[in-house]
């Protein structure tokens, strides 16, 4: 499966191209192979979910794309550029499981942070920032400090921050991993709405099967020891996907297929 062209339309533009990437971490006990010759291409404008058990290297893969780690072998190219060159233009947006907001900054000034790091004038983009705060549903909370916001609201600030530079590549590392199941579903709907308002090539790491199936165009299934891609499963549902989809039999069929790919021994 790994050797197959992992997306449906090989002639379309690839925004992200991961070629034979391996990464080993040296720990005190023994070296751990986090990724073993991983190859993946992500089409422009698509939403790809990475799913797999703990230790399968899905977060490492995302960090390689963000240029936060360097591969031992292989290459990561974003529109034919290195992650470092790509991100220096503000083309990357990122959000983590932990919102990682600066606790002393208001929501608005947290959203502005990437612009400041990139050396852009924040005053000229105030309208953009306010629009984003509205888009993530935080109208009226622009001047609140993170400590005054709930966990879900903080995560919305982090998503607005990830979108502020008009990124052409959005990286989400378990963005709703710390939320409860009910809040997670409503955030999934929100994320779909936000994403459809500004469709951006998106790579999302998750360990939640229905989150992956609901949001993604393609789900990349990974296994651990060593971390590798075992399957790429296309999700056929049209957008916008409604909450009713969570209860649909075809949705459950996809989820079962994902579960089987994640743990083949369980379905035998």
């Amino acid at each position: 499966m790994v050797d197959e062209q992992p997306f449906a339309h090989p002639h379309e533009l690839a925004d992200l191209s991961i070629e034979g990437v391996s990464k080993t971490f040296r720990t005190r006990a023994q070296p751990v192979q986090a990724l073993s010759s991983v190859t993946l291409k992500v089409r422009r404008g698509s939403f790809v979910a990475l799913i797999g058990p703990s230790g399968c290297g899905k977060s490492t893969l995302l960090r390689l794309v963000a240029g936060l780690e360097e591969p031992d072998q292989g290459a990561v190219l974003l529109r034919n550029e290195s992650p470092q060159a790509f991100r220096a233009r503000g083309e990357l947006g990122i959000a983590f499981q932990d919102p990682a907001l600066l606790p002393w900054r208001t929501a608005r000034r947290n959203v502005a942070l990437p612009l400041q790091v990139l050396g852009e004038k924040v005053s000229e983009q105030q309208q953009r920032i306010d629009d984003l705060i509205e888009l993530v549903g935080l109208t009226g909370y622009a001047n609140a400090l993170p400590g005054q916001l709930s966990g879900g609201m903080r995560q919305r600030v982090a998503i607005a921050r990830a979108l502020v530079t008009y990124p052409s590549m959005l990286l989400l590392d378990e963005p709703f991993g710390a939320l409860d199941q009910i809040l997670r579903r409503s955030m999934n709907l929100e994320l779909q709405r936000i994403w459809m308002a500004s469709p951006t090539t998106t790579l999302m790491v998750t360990h939640n099967i229905d989150e992956a199936a609901f949001l993604a165009d393609q789900v990349v299934v990974m296994h651990a020891a060593p971390g590798r891609i075992v399957d790429v499963i296309p999700i056929p549902f049209s957008r916008p996907r409604a909450p009713a989809l969570f209860a649909a039999p075809e949705f459950h069929a996809i989820c079962d297929r994902l579960a089987a790919a994640l743990d083949p021994s369980a379905t035998r």
């Binding site: 470092q84 991100r87 220096a88 600066l102 942070l113 790091v117 990139l118 530079t165």
Partner: protein, 514 residues
């Protein structure tokens, strides 16, 4: 006022009343510890002395505080940004942490004049706590924030600017809080060495001979009040700027190992950096004297000082005097250290069995921890005289309080589920203590020991200098009087080296024990 505060005030008032009545009615008590109103009266009658002495100390402390803290924050930023610089300066940092500050005063007095020795000593004393607190604050940041900044192409400078500096603000303010009372102590110890006319230290020295308990305790309380005021100002600023969320308790001080990281370079560069770390203090010593162009008779360099003890014409006498002094000082310092830590551990452990007692003791201990130790001298002298007992008591007292605060924290941080596990099986408080709390808190023993090892030596030397007239403290004091400059330098260097060695020995044992 809460119920607990009300109760405390009632007890405090009752204690003062007992002290007053006993002091007024019994001669023996009055000659020992005066009485509250006697102390207050002598403030009134002695105001013409107190005001200039107090102002002189506050001025030196304030100048030293500003200079020392500016250097400390700048150094912490440099060390955070360039970890190799920190490794290179490790020797300097540990020397500044471990130096018994009283030995530096006479040396500074040889090289500088007027108020400069006190100011410089105050600056040297505040440097380490602020630098350590700032460095921890700069380093201890949310790693995800680093990822966010890096994702937008930001490098170490952007991380410093957007994340670290602001993140470190509470830590810097906590460092300044610790540093404020220390600057007062530094100024007073500097006055001992420089022998200036004005200052609380000079006032205390001049009053020790009269043995008037009201005056001596009055000076002790005045020094404590100034130190506490400094602490209070920065606690207040901290609360105002950082909001109610910030803890208002006194953060325990840090010893160098709690922040120093050994960067993972190749062993060659590690060895090179290590050599730099060892040599840099001596190089700076030589360089400062070279640049300041002071007569080598007053201010010998490292080589001359070594020669004074090893190969000079009077080296045999110098060695004998030094060894005799060390023979008196070191056993007392060790005794004070062991007794102080043991008492601190026992009382901290007791608080597990009797939590109510802990609530009462901890604030007092935190307060006394930041009391300038010279303020203890009058009380110790009045209660224990001027000899060995007084010296050991001084050492125990300066060791006990910081060790207790550190160990009480260790006991408080024992994970609750571990204690509840014992409770679920019907264990008593005592079995909680024996099975869980003591083994957990034992790891804090090393942290506490590293923190107080240099203090034990300082406590003994202060007592020797002011009270007993023996040992290393006296050797420095008398050499200063005899204009034996080589001995002043040698004594200072030897005591700093011993202090650093003792600190490193505890660290070494800790590494082995792990």
């Amino acid at each position: 006022m809460t119920r607990a505060q009300f109760k405390t005030s009632v007890y405090l008032f009752a204690a003062l009343l007992v002290w007053e009545v006993a002091g007024r009615s019994m001669h023996a008590v009055r000659d020992l510890i005066a009485s509250p109103t006697l102390i207050l009266t002598q403030y009134w009658t002695g105001a013409d002395l107190y005001v200039p002495h107090l102002l002189a100390t506050v001025r030196s402390a304030a100048f030293g505080f500003v200079i020392g803290n500016l250097v400390a924050v700048a150094a912490a930023i440099l060390f955070c940004r360039f970890p190799a610089a920190e490794t290179a300066f490790r020797g300097v940092n540990i020397a500044l942490f471990a130096m018994p500050s009283i030995v530096v005063g006479p040396v500074l007095a040889l090289v500088f004049s007027d108020n400069l020795p006190q100011i410089i000593l105050a600056a040297l004393v505040v440097y380490f706590p602020t630098m350590a607190a700032t460095l921890v604050g700069l380093r201890d940041i949310d790693p995800r924030l680093l990822d966010v900044i890096k994702t937008y192409g930001g490098g170490p400078d952007a991380i410093m600017r957007f994340v670290r500096l602001r993140s470190a603000l509470p830590a810097i303010l906590a460092g300044l809080r610790t540093a404020a009372p220390l600057s007062v102590l530094g100024a007073i110890l500097g006055e001992f060495g420089s022998g200036v006319r004005w200052g609380l230290g000079s006032f205390l020295l001049g009053s020790l001979g009269d043995a008037d308990p009201a005056r001596l305790l009055g000076i002790g309380f005045a020094a404590t009040a100034v130190a506490m005021a400094g602490y209070g100002v920065f606690a207040w600023i901290g609360r105002r700027t950082l909001g109610a969320s910030m803890a208002v308790t006194i953060a325990p001080e840090r010893s160098p190992d709690q922040y120093i990281l050994w960067p993972e370079y190749s062993w060659q560069s590690n060895a090179a950096l290590f050599s730099v770390a060892v040599l840099l203090p001596f190089l700076l010593w030589w360089l400062i004297l070279r640049v300041s162009d002071i007569s080598p008779i007053i201010a010998p360099g490292p080589v001359e000082t070594l020669r004074h003890l090893v190969s000079g014409p009077d080296s045999a006498d110098a060695r004998a005097a030094m060894l005799a002094a060390l023979g008196q000082t070191l056993p007392l310092a060790a005794l004070g250290l062991v007794c102080g830590i043991a008492a601190a551990f026992a009382i901290a452990a007791l608080t597990v069995v009797r939590p109510a007692a802990a609530k009462a003791i901890l604030p007092v201990a935190m307060l006394l921890q930041s009391m300038p130790l010279v303020a203890l001298v009058p009380l110790v002298m009045l209660l224990f005289g001027r000899d060995t007992a007084a010296t050991v008591v001084m050492a125990v007292m300066v060791v006990f309080f910081p060790a207790y605060v550190m160990l009480a924290q260790g006991f408080a941080l024992v994970p609750r589920p571990a204690l509840e596990l014992v409770q679920v099986y019907g264990g008593s408080r005592t079995s909680e203590l024996v099975l869980v709390s003591v083994p957990y808190a034992a790891s804090y023993l090393f942290a506490a020991a590293k923190l107080v090892v240099p203090r034990a030596l300082l406590g003994v030397m202060v007592a020797e200098w002011l009270l007993s007239g023996k040992g290393l403290g006296n050797l420095l004091n008398s050499s200063r009087g005899l204009l034996d400059y080589d001995m002043v330098w040698a004594g200072a260097v030897i005591s700093i080296l011993i202090s650093v060695a003792a600190y490193e020995a505890v660290s070494g044992v800790e590494r082995l024990a792990r």
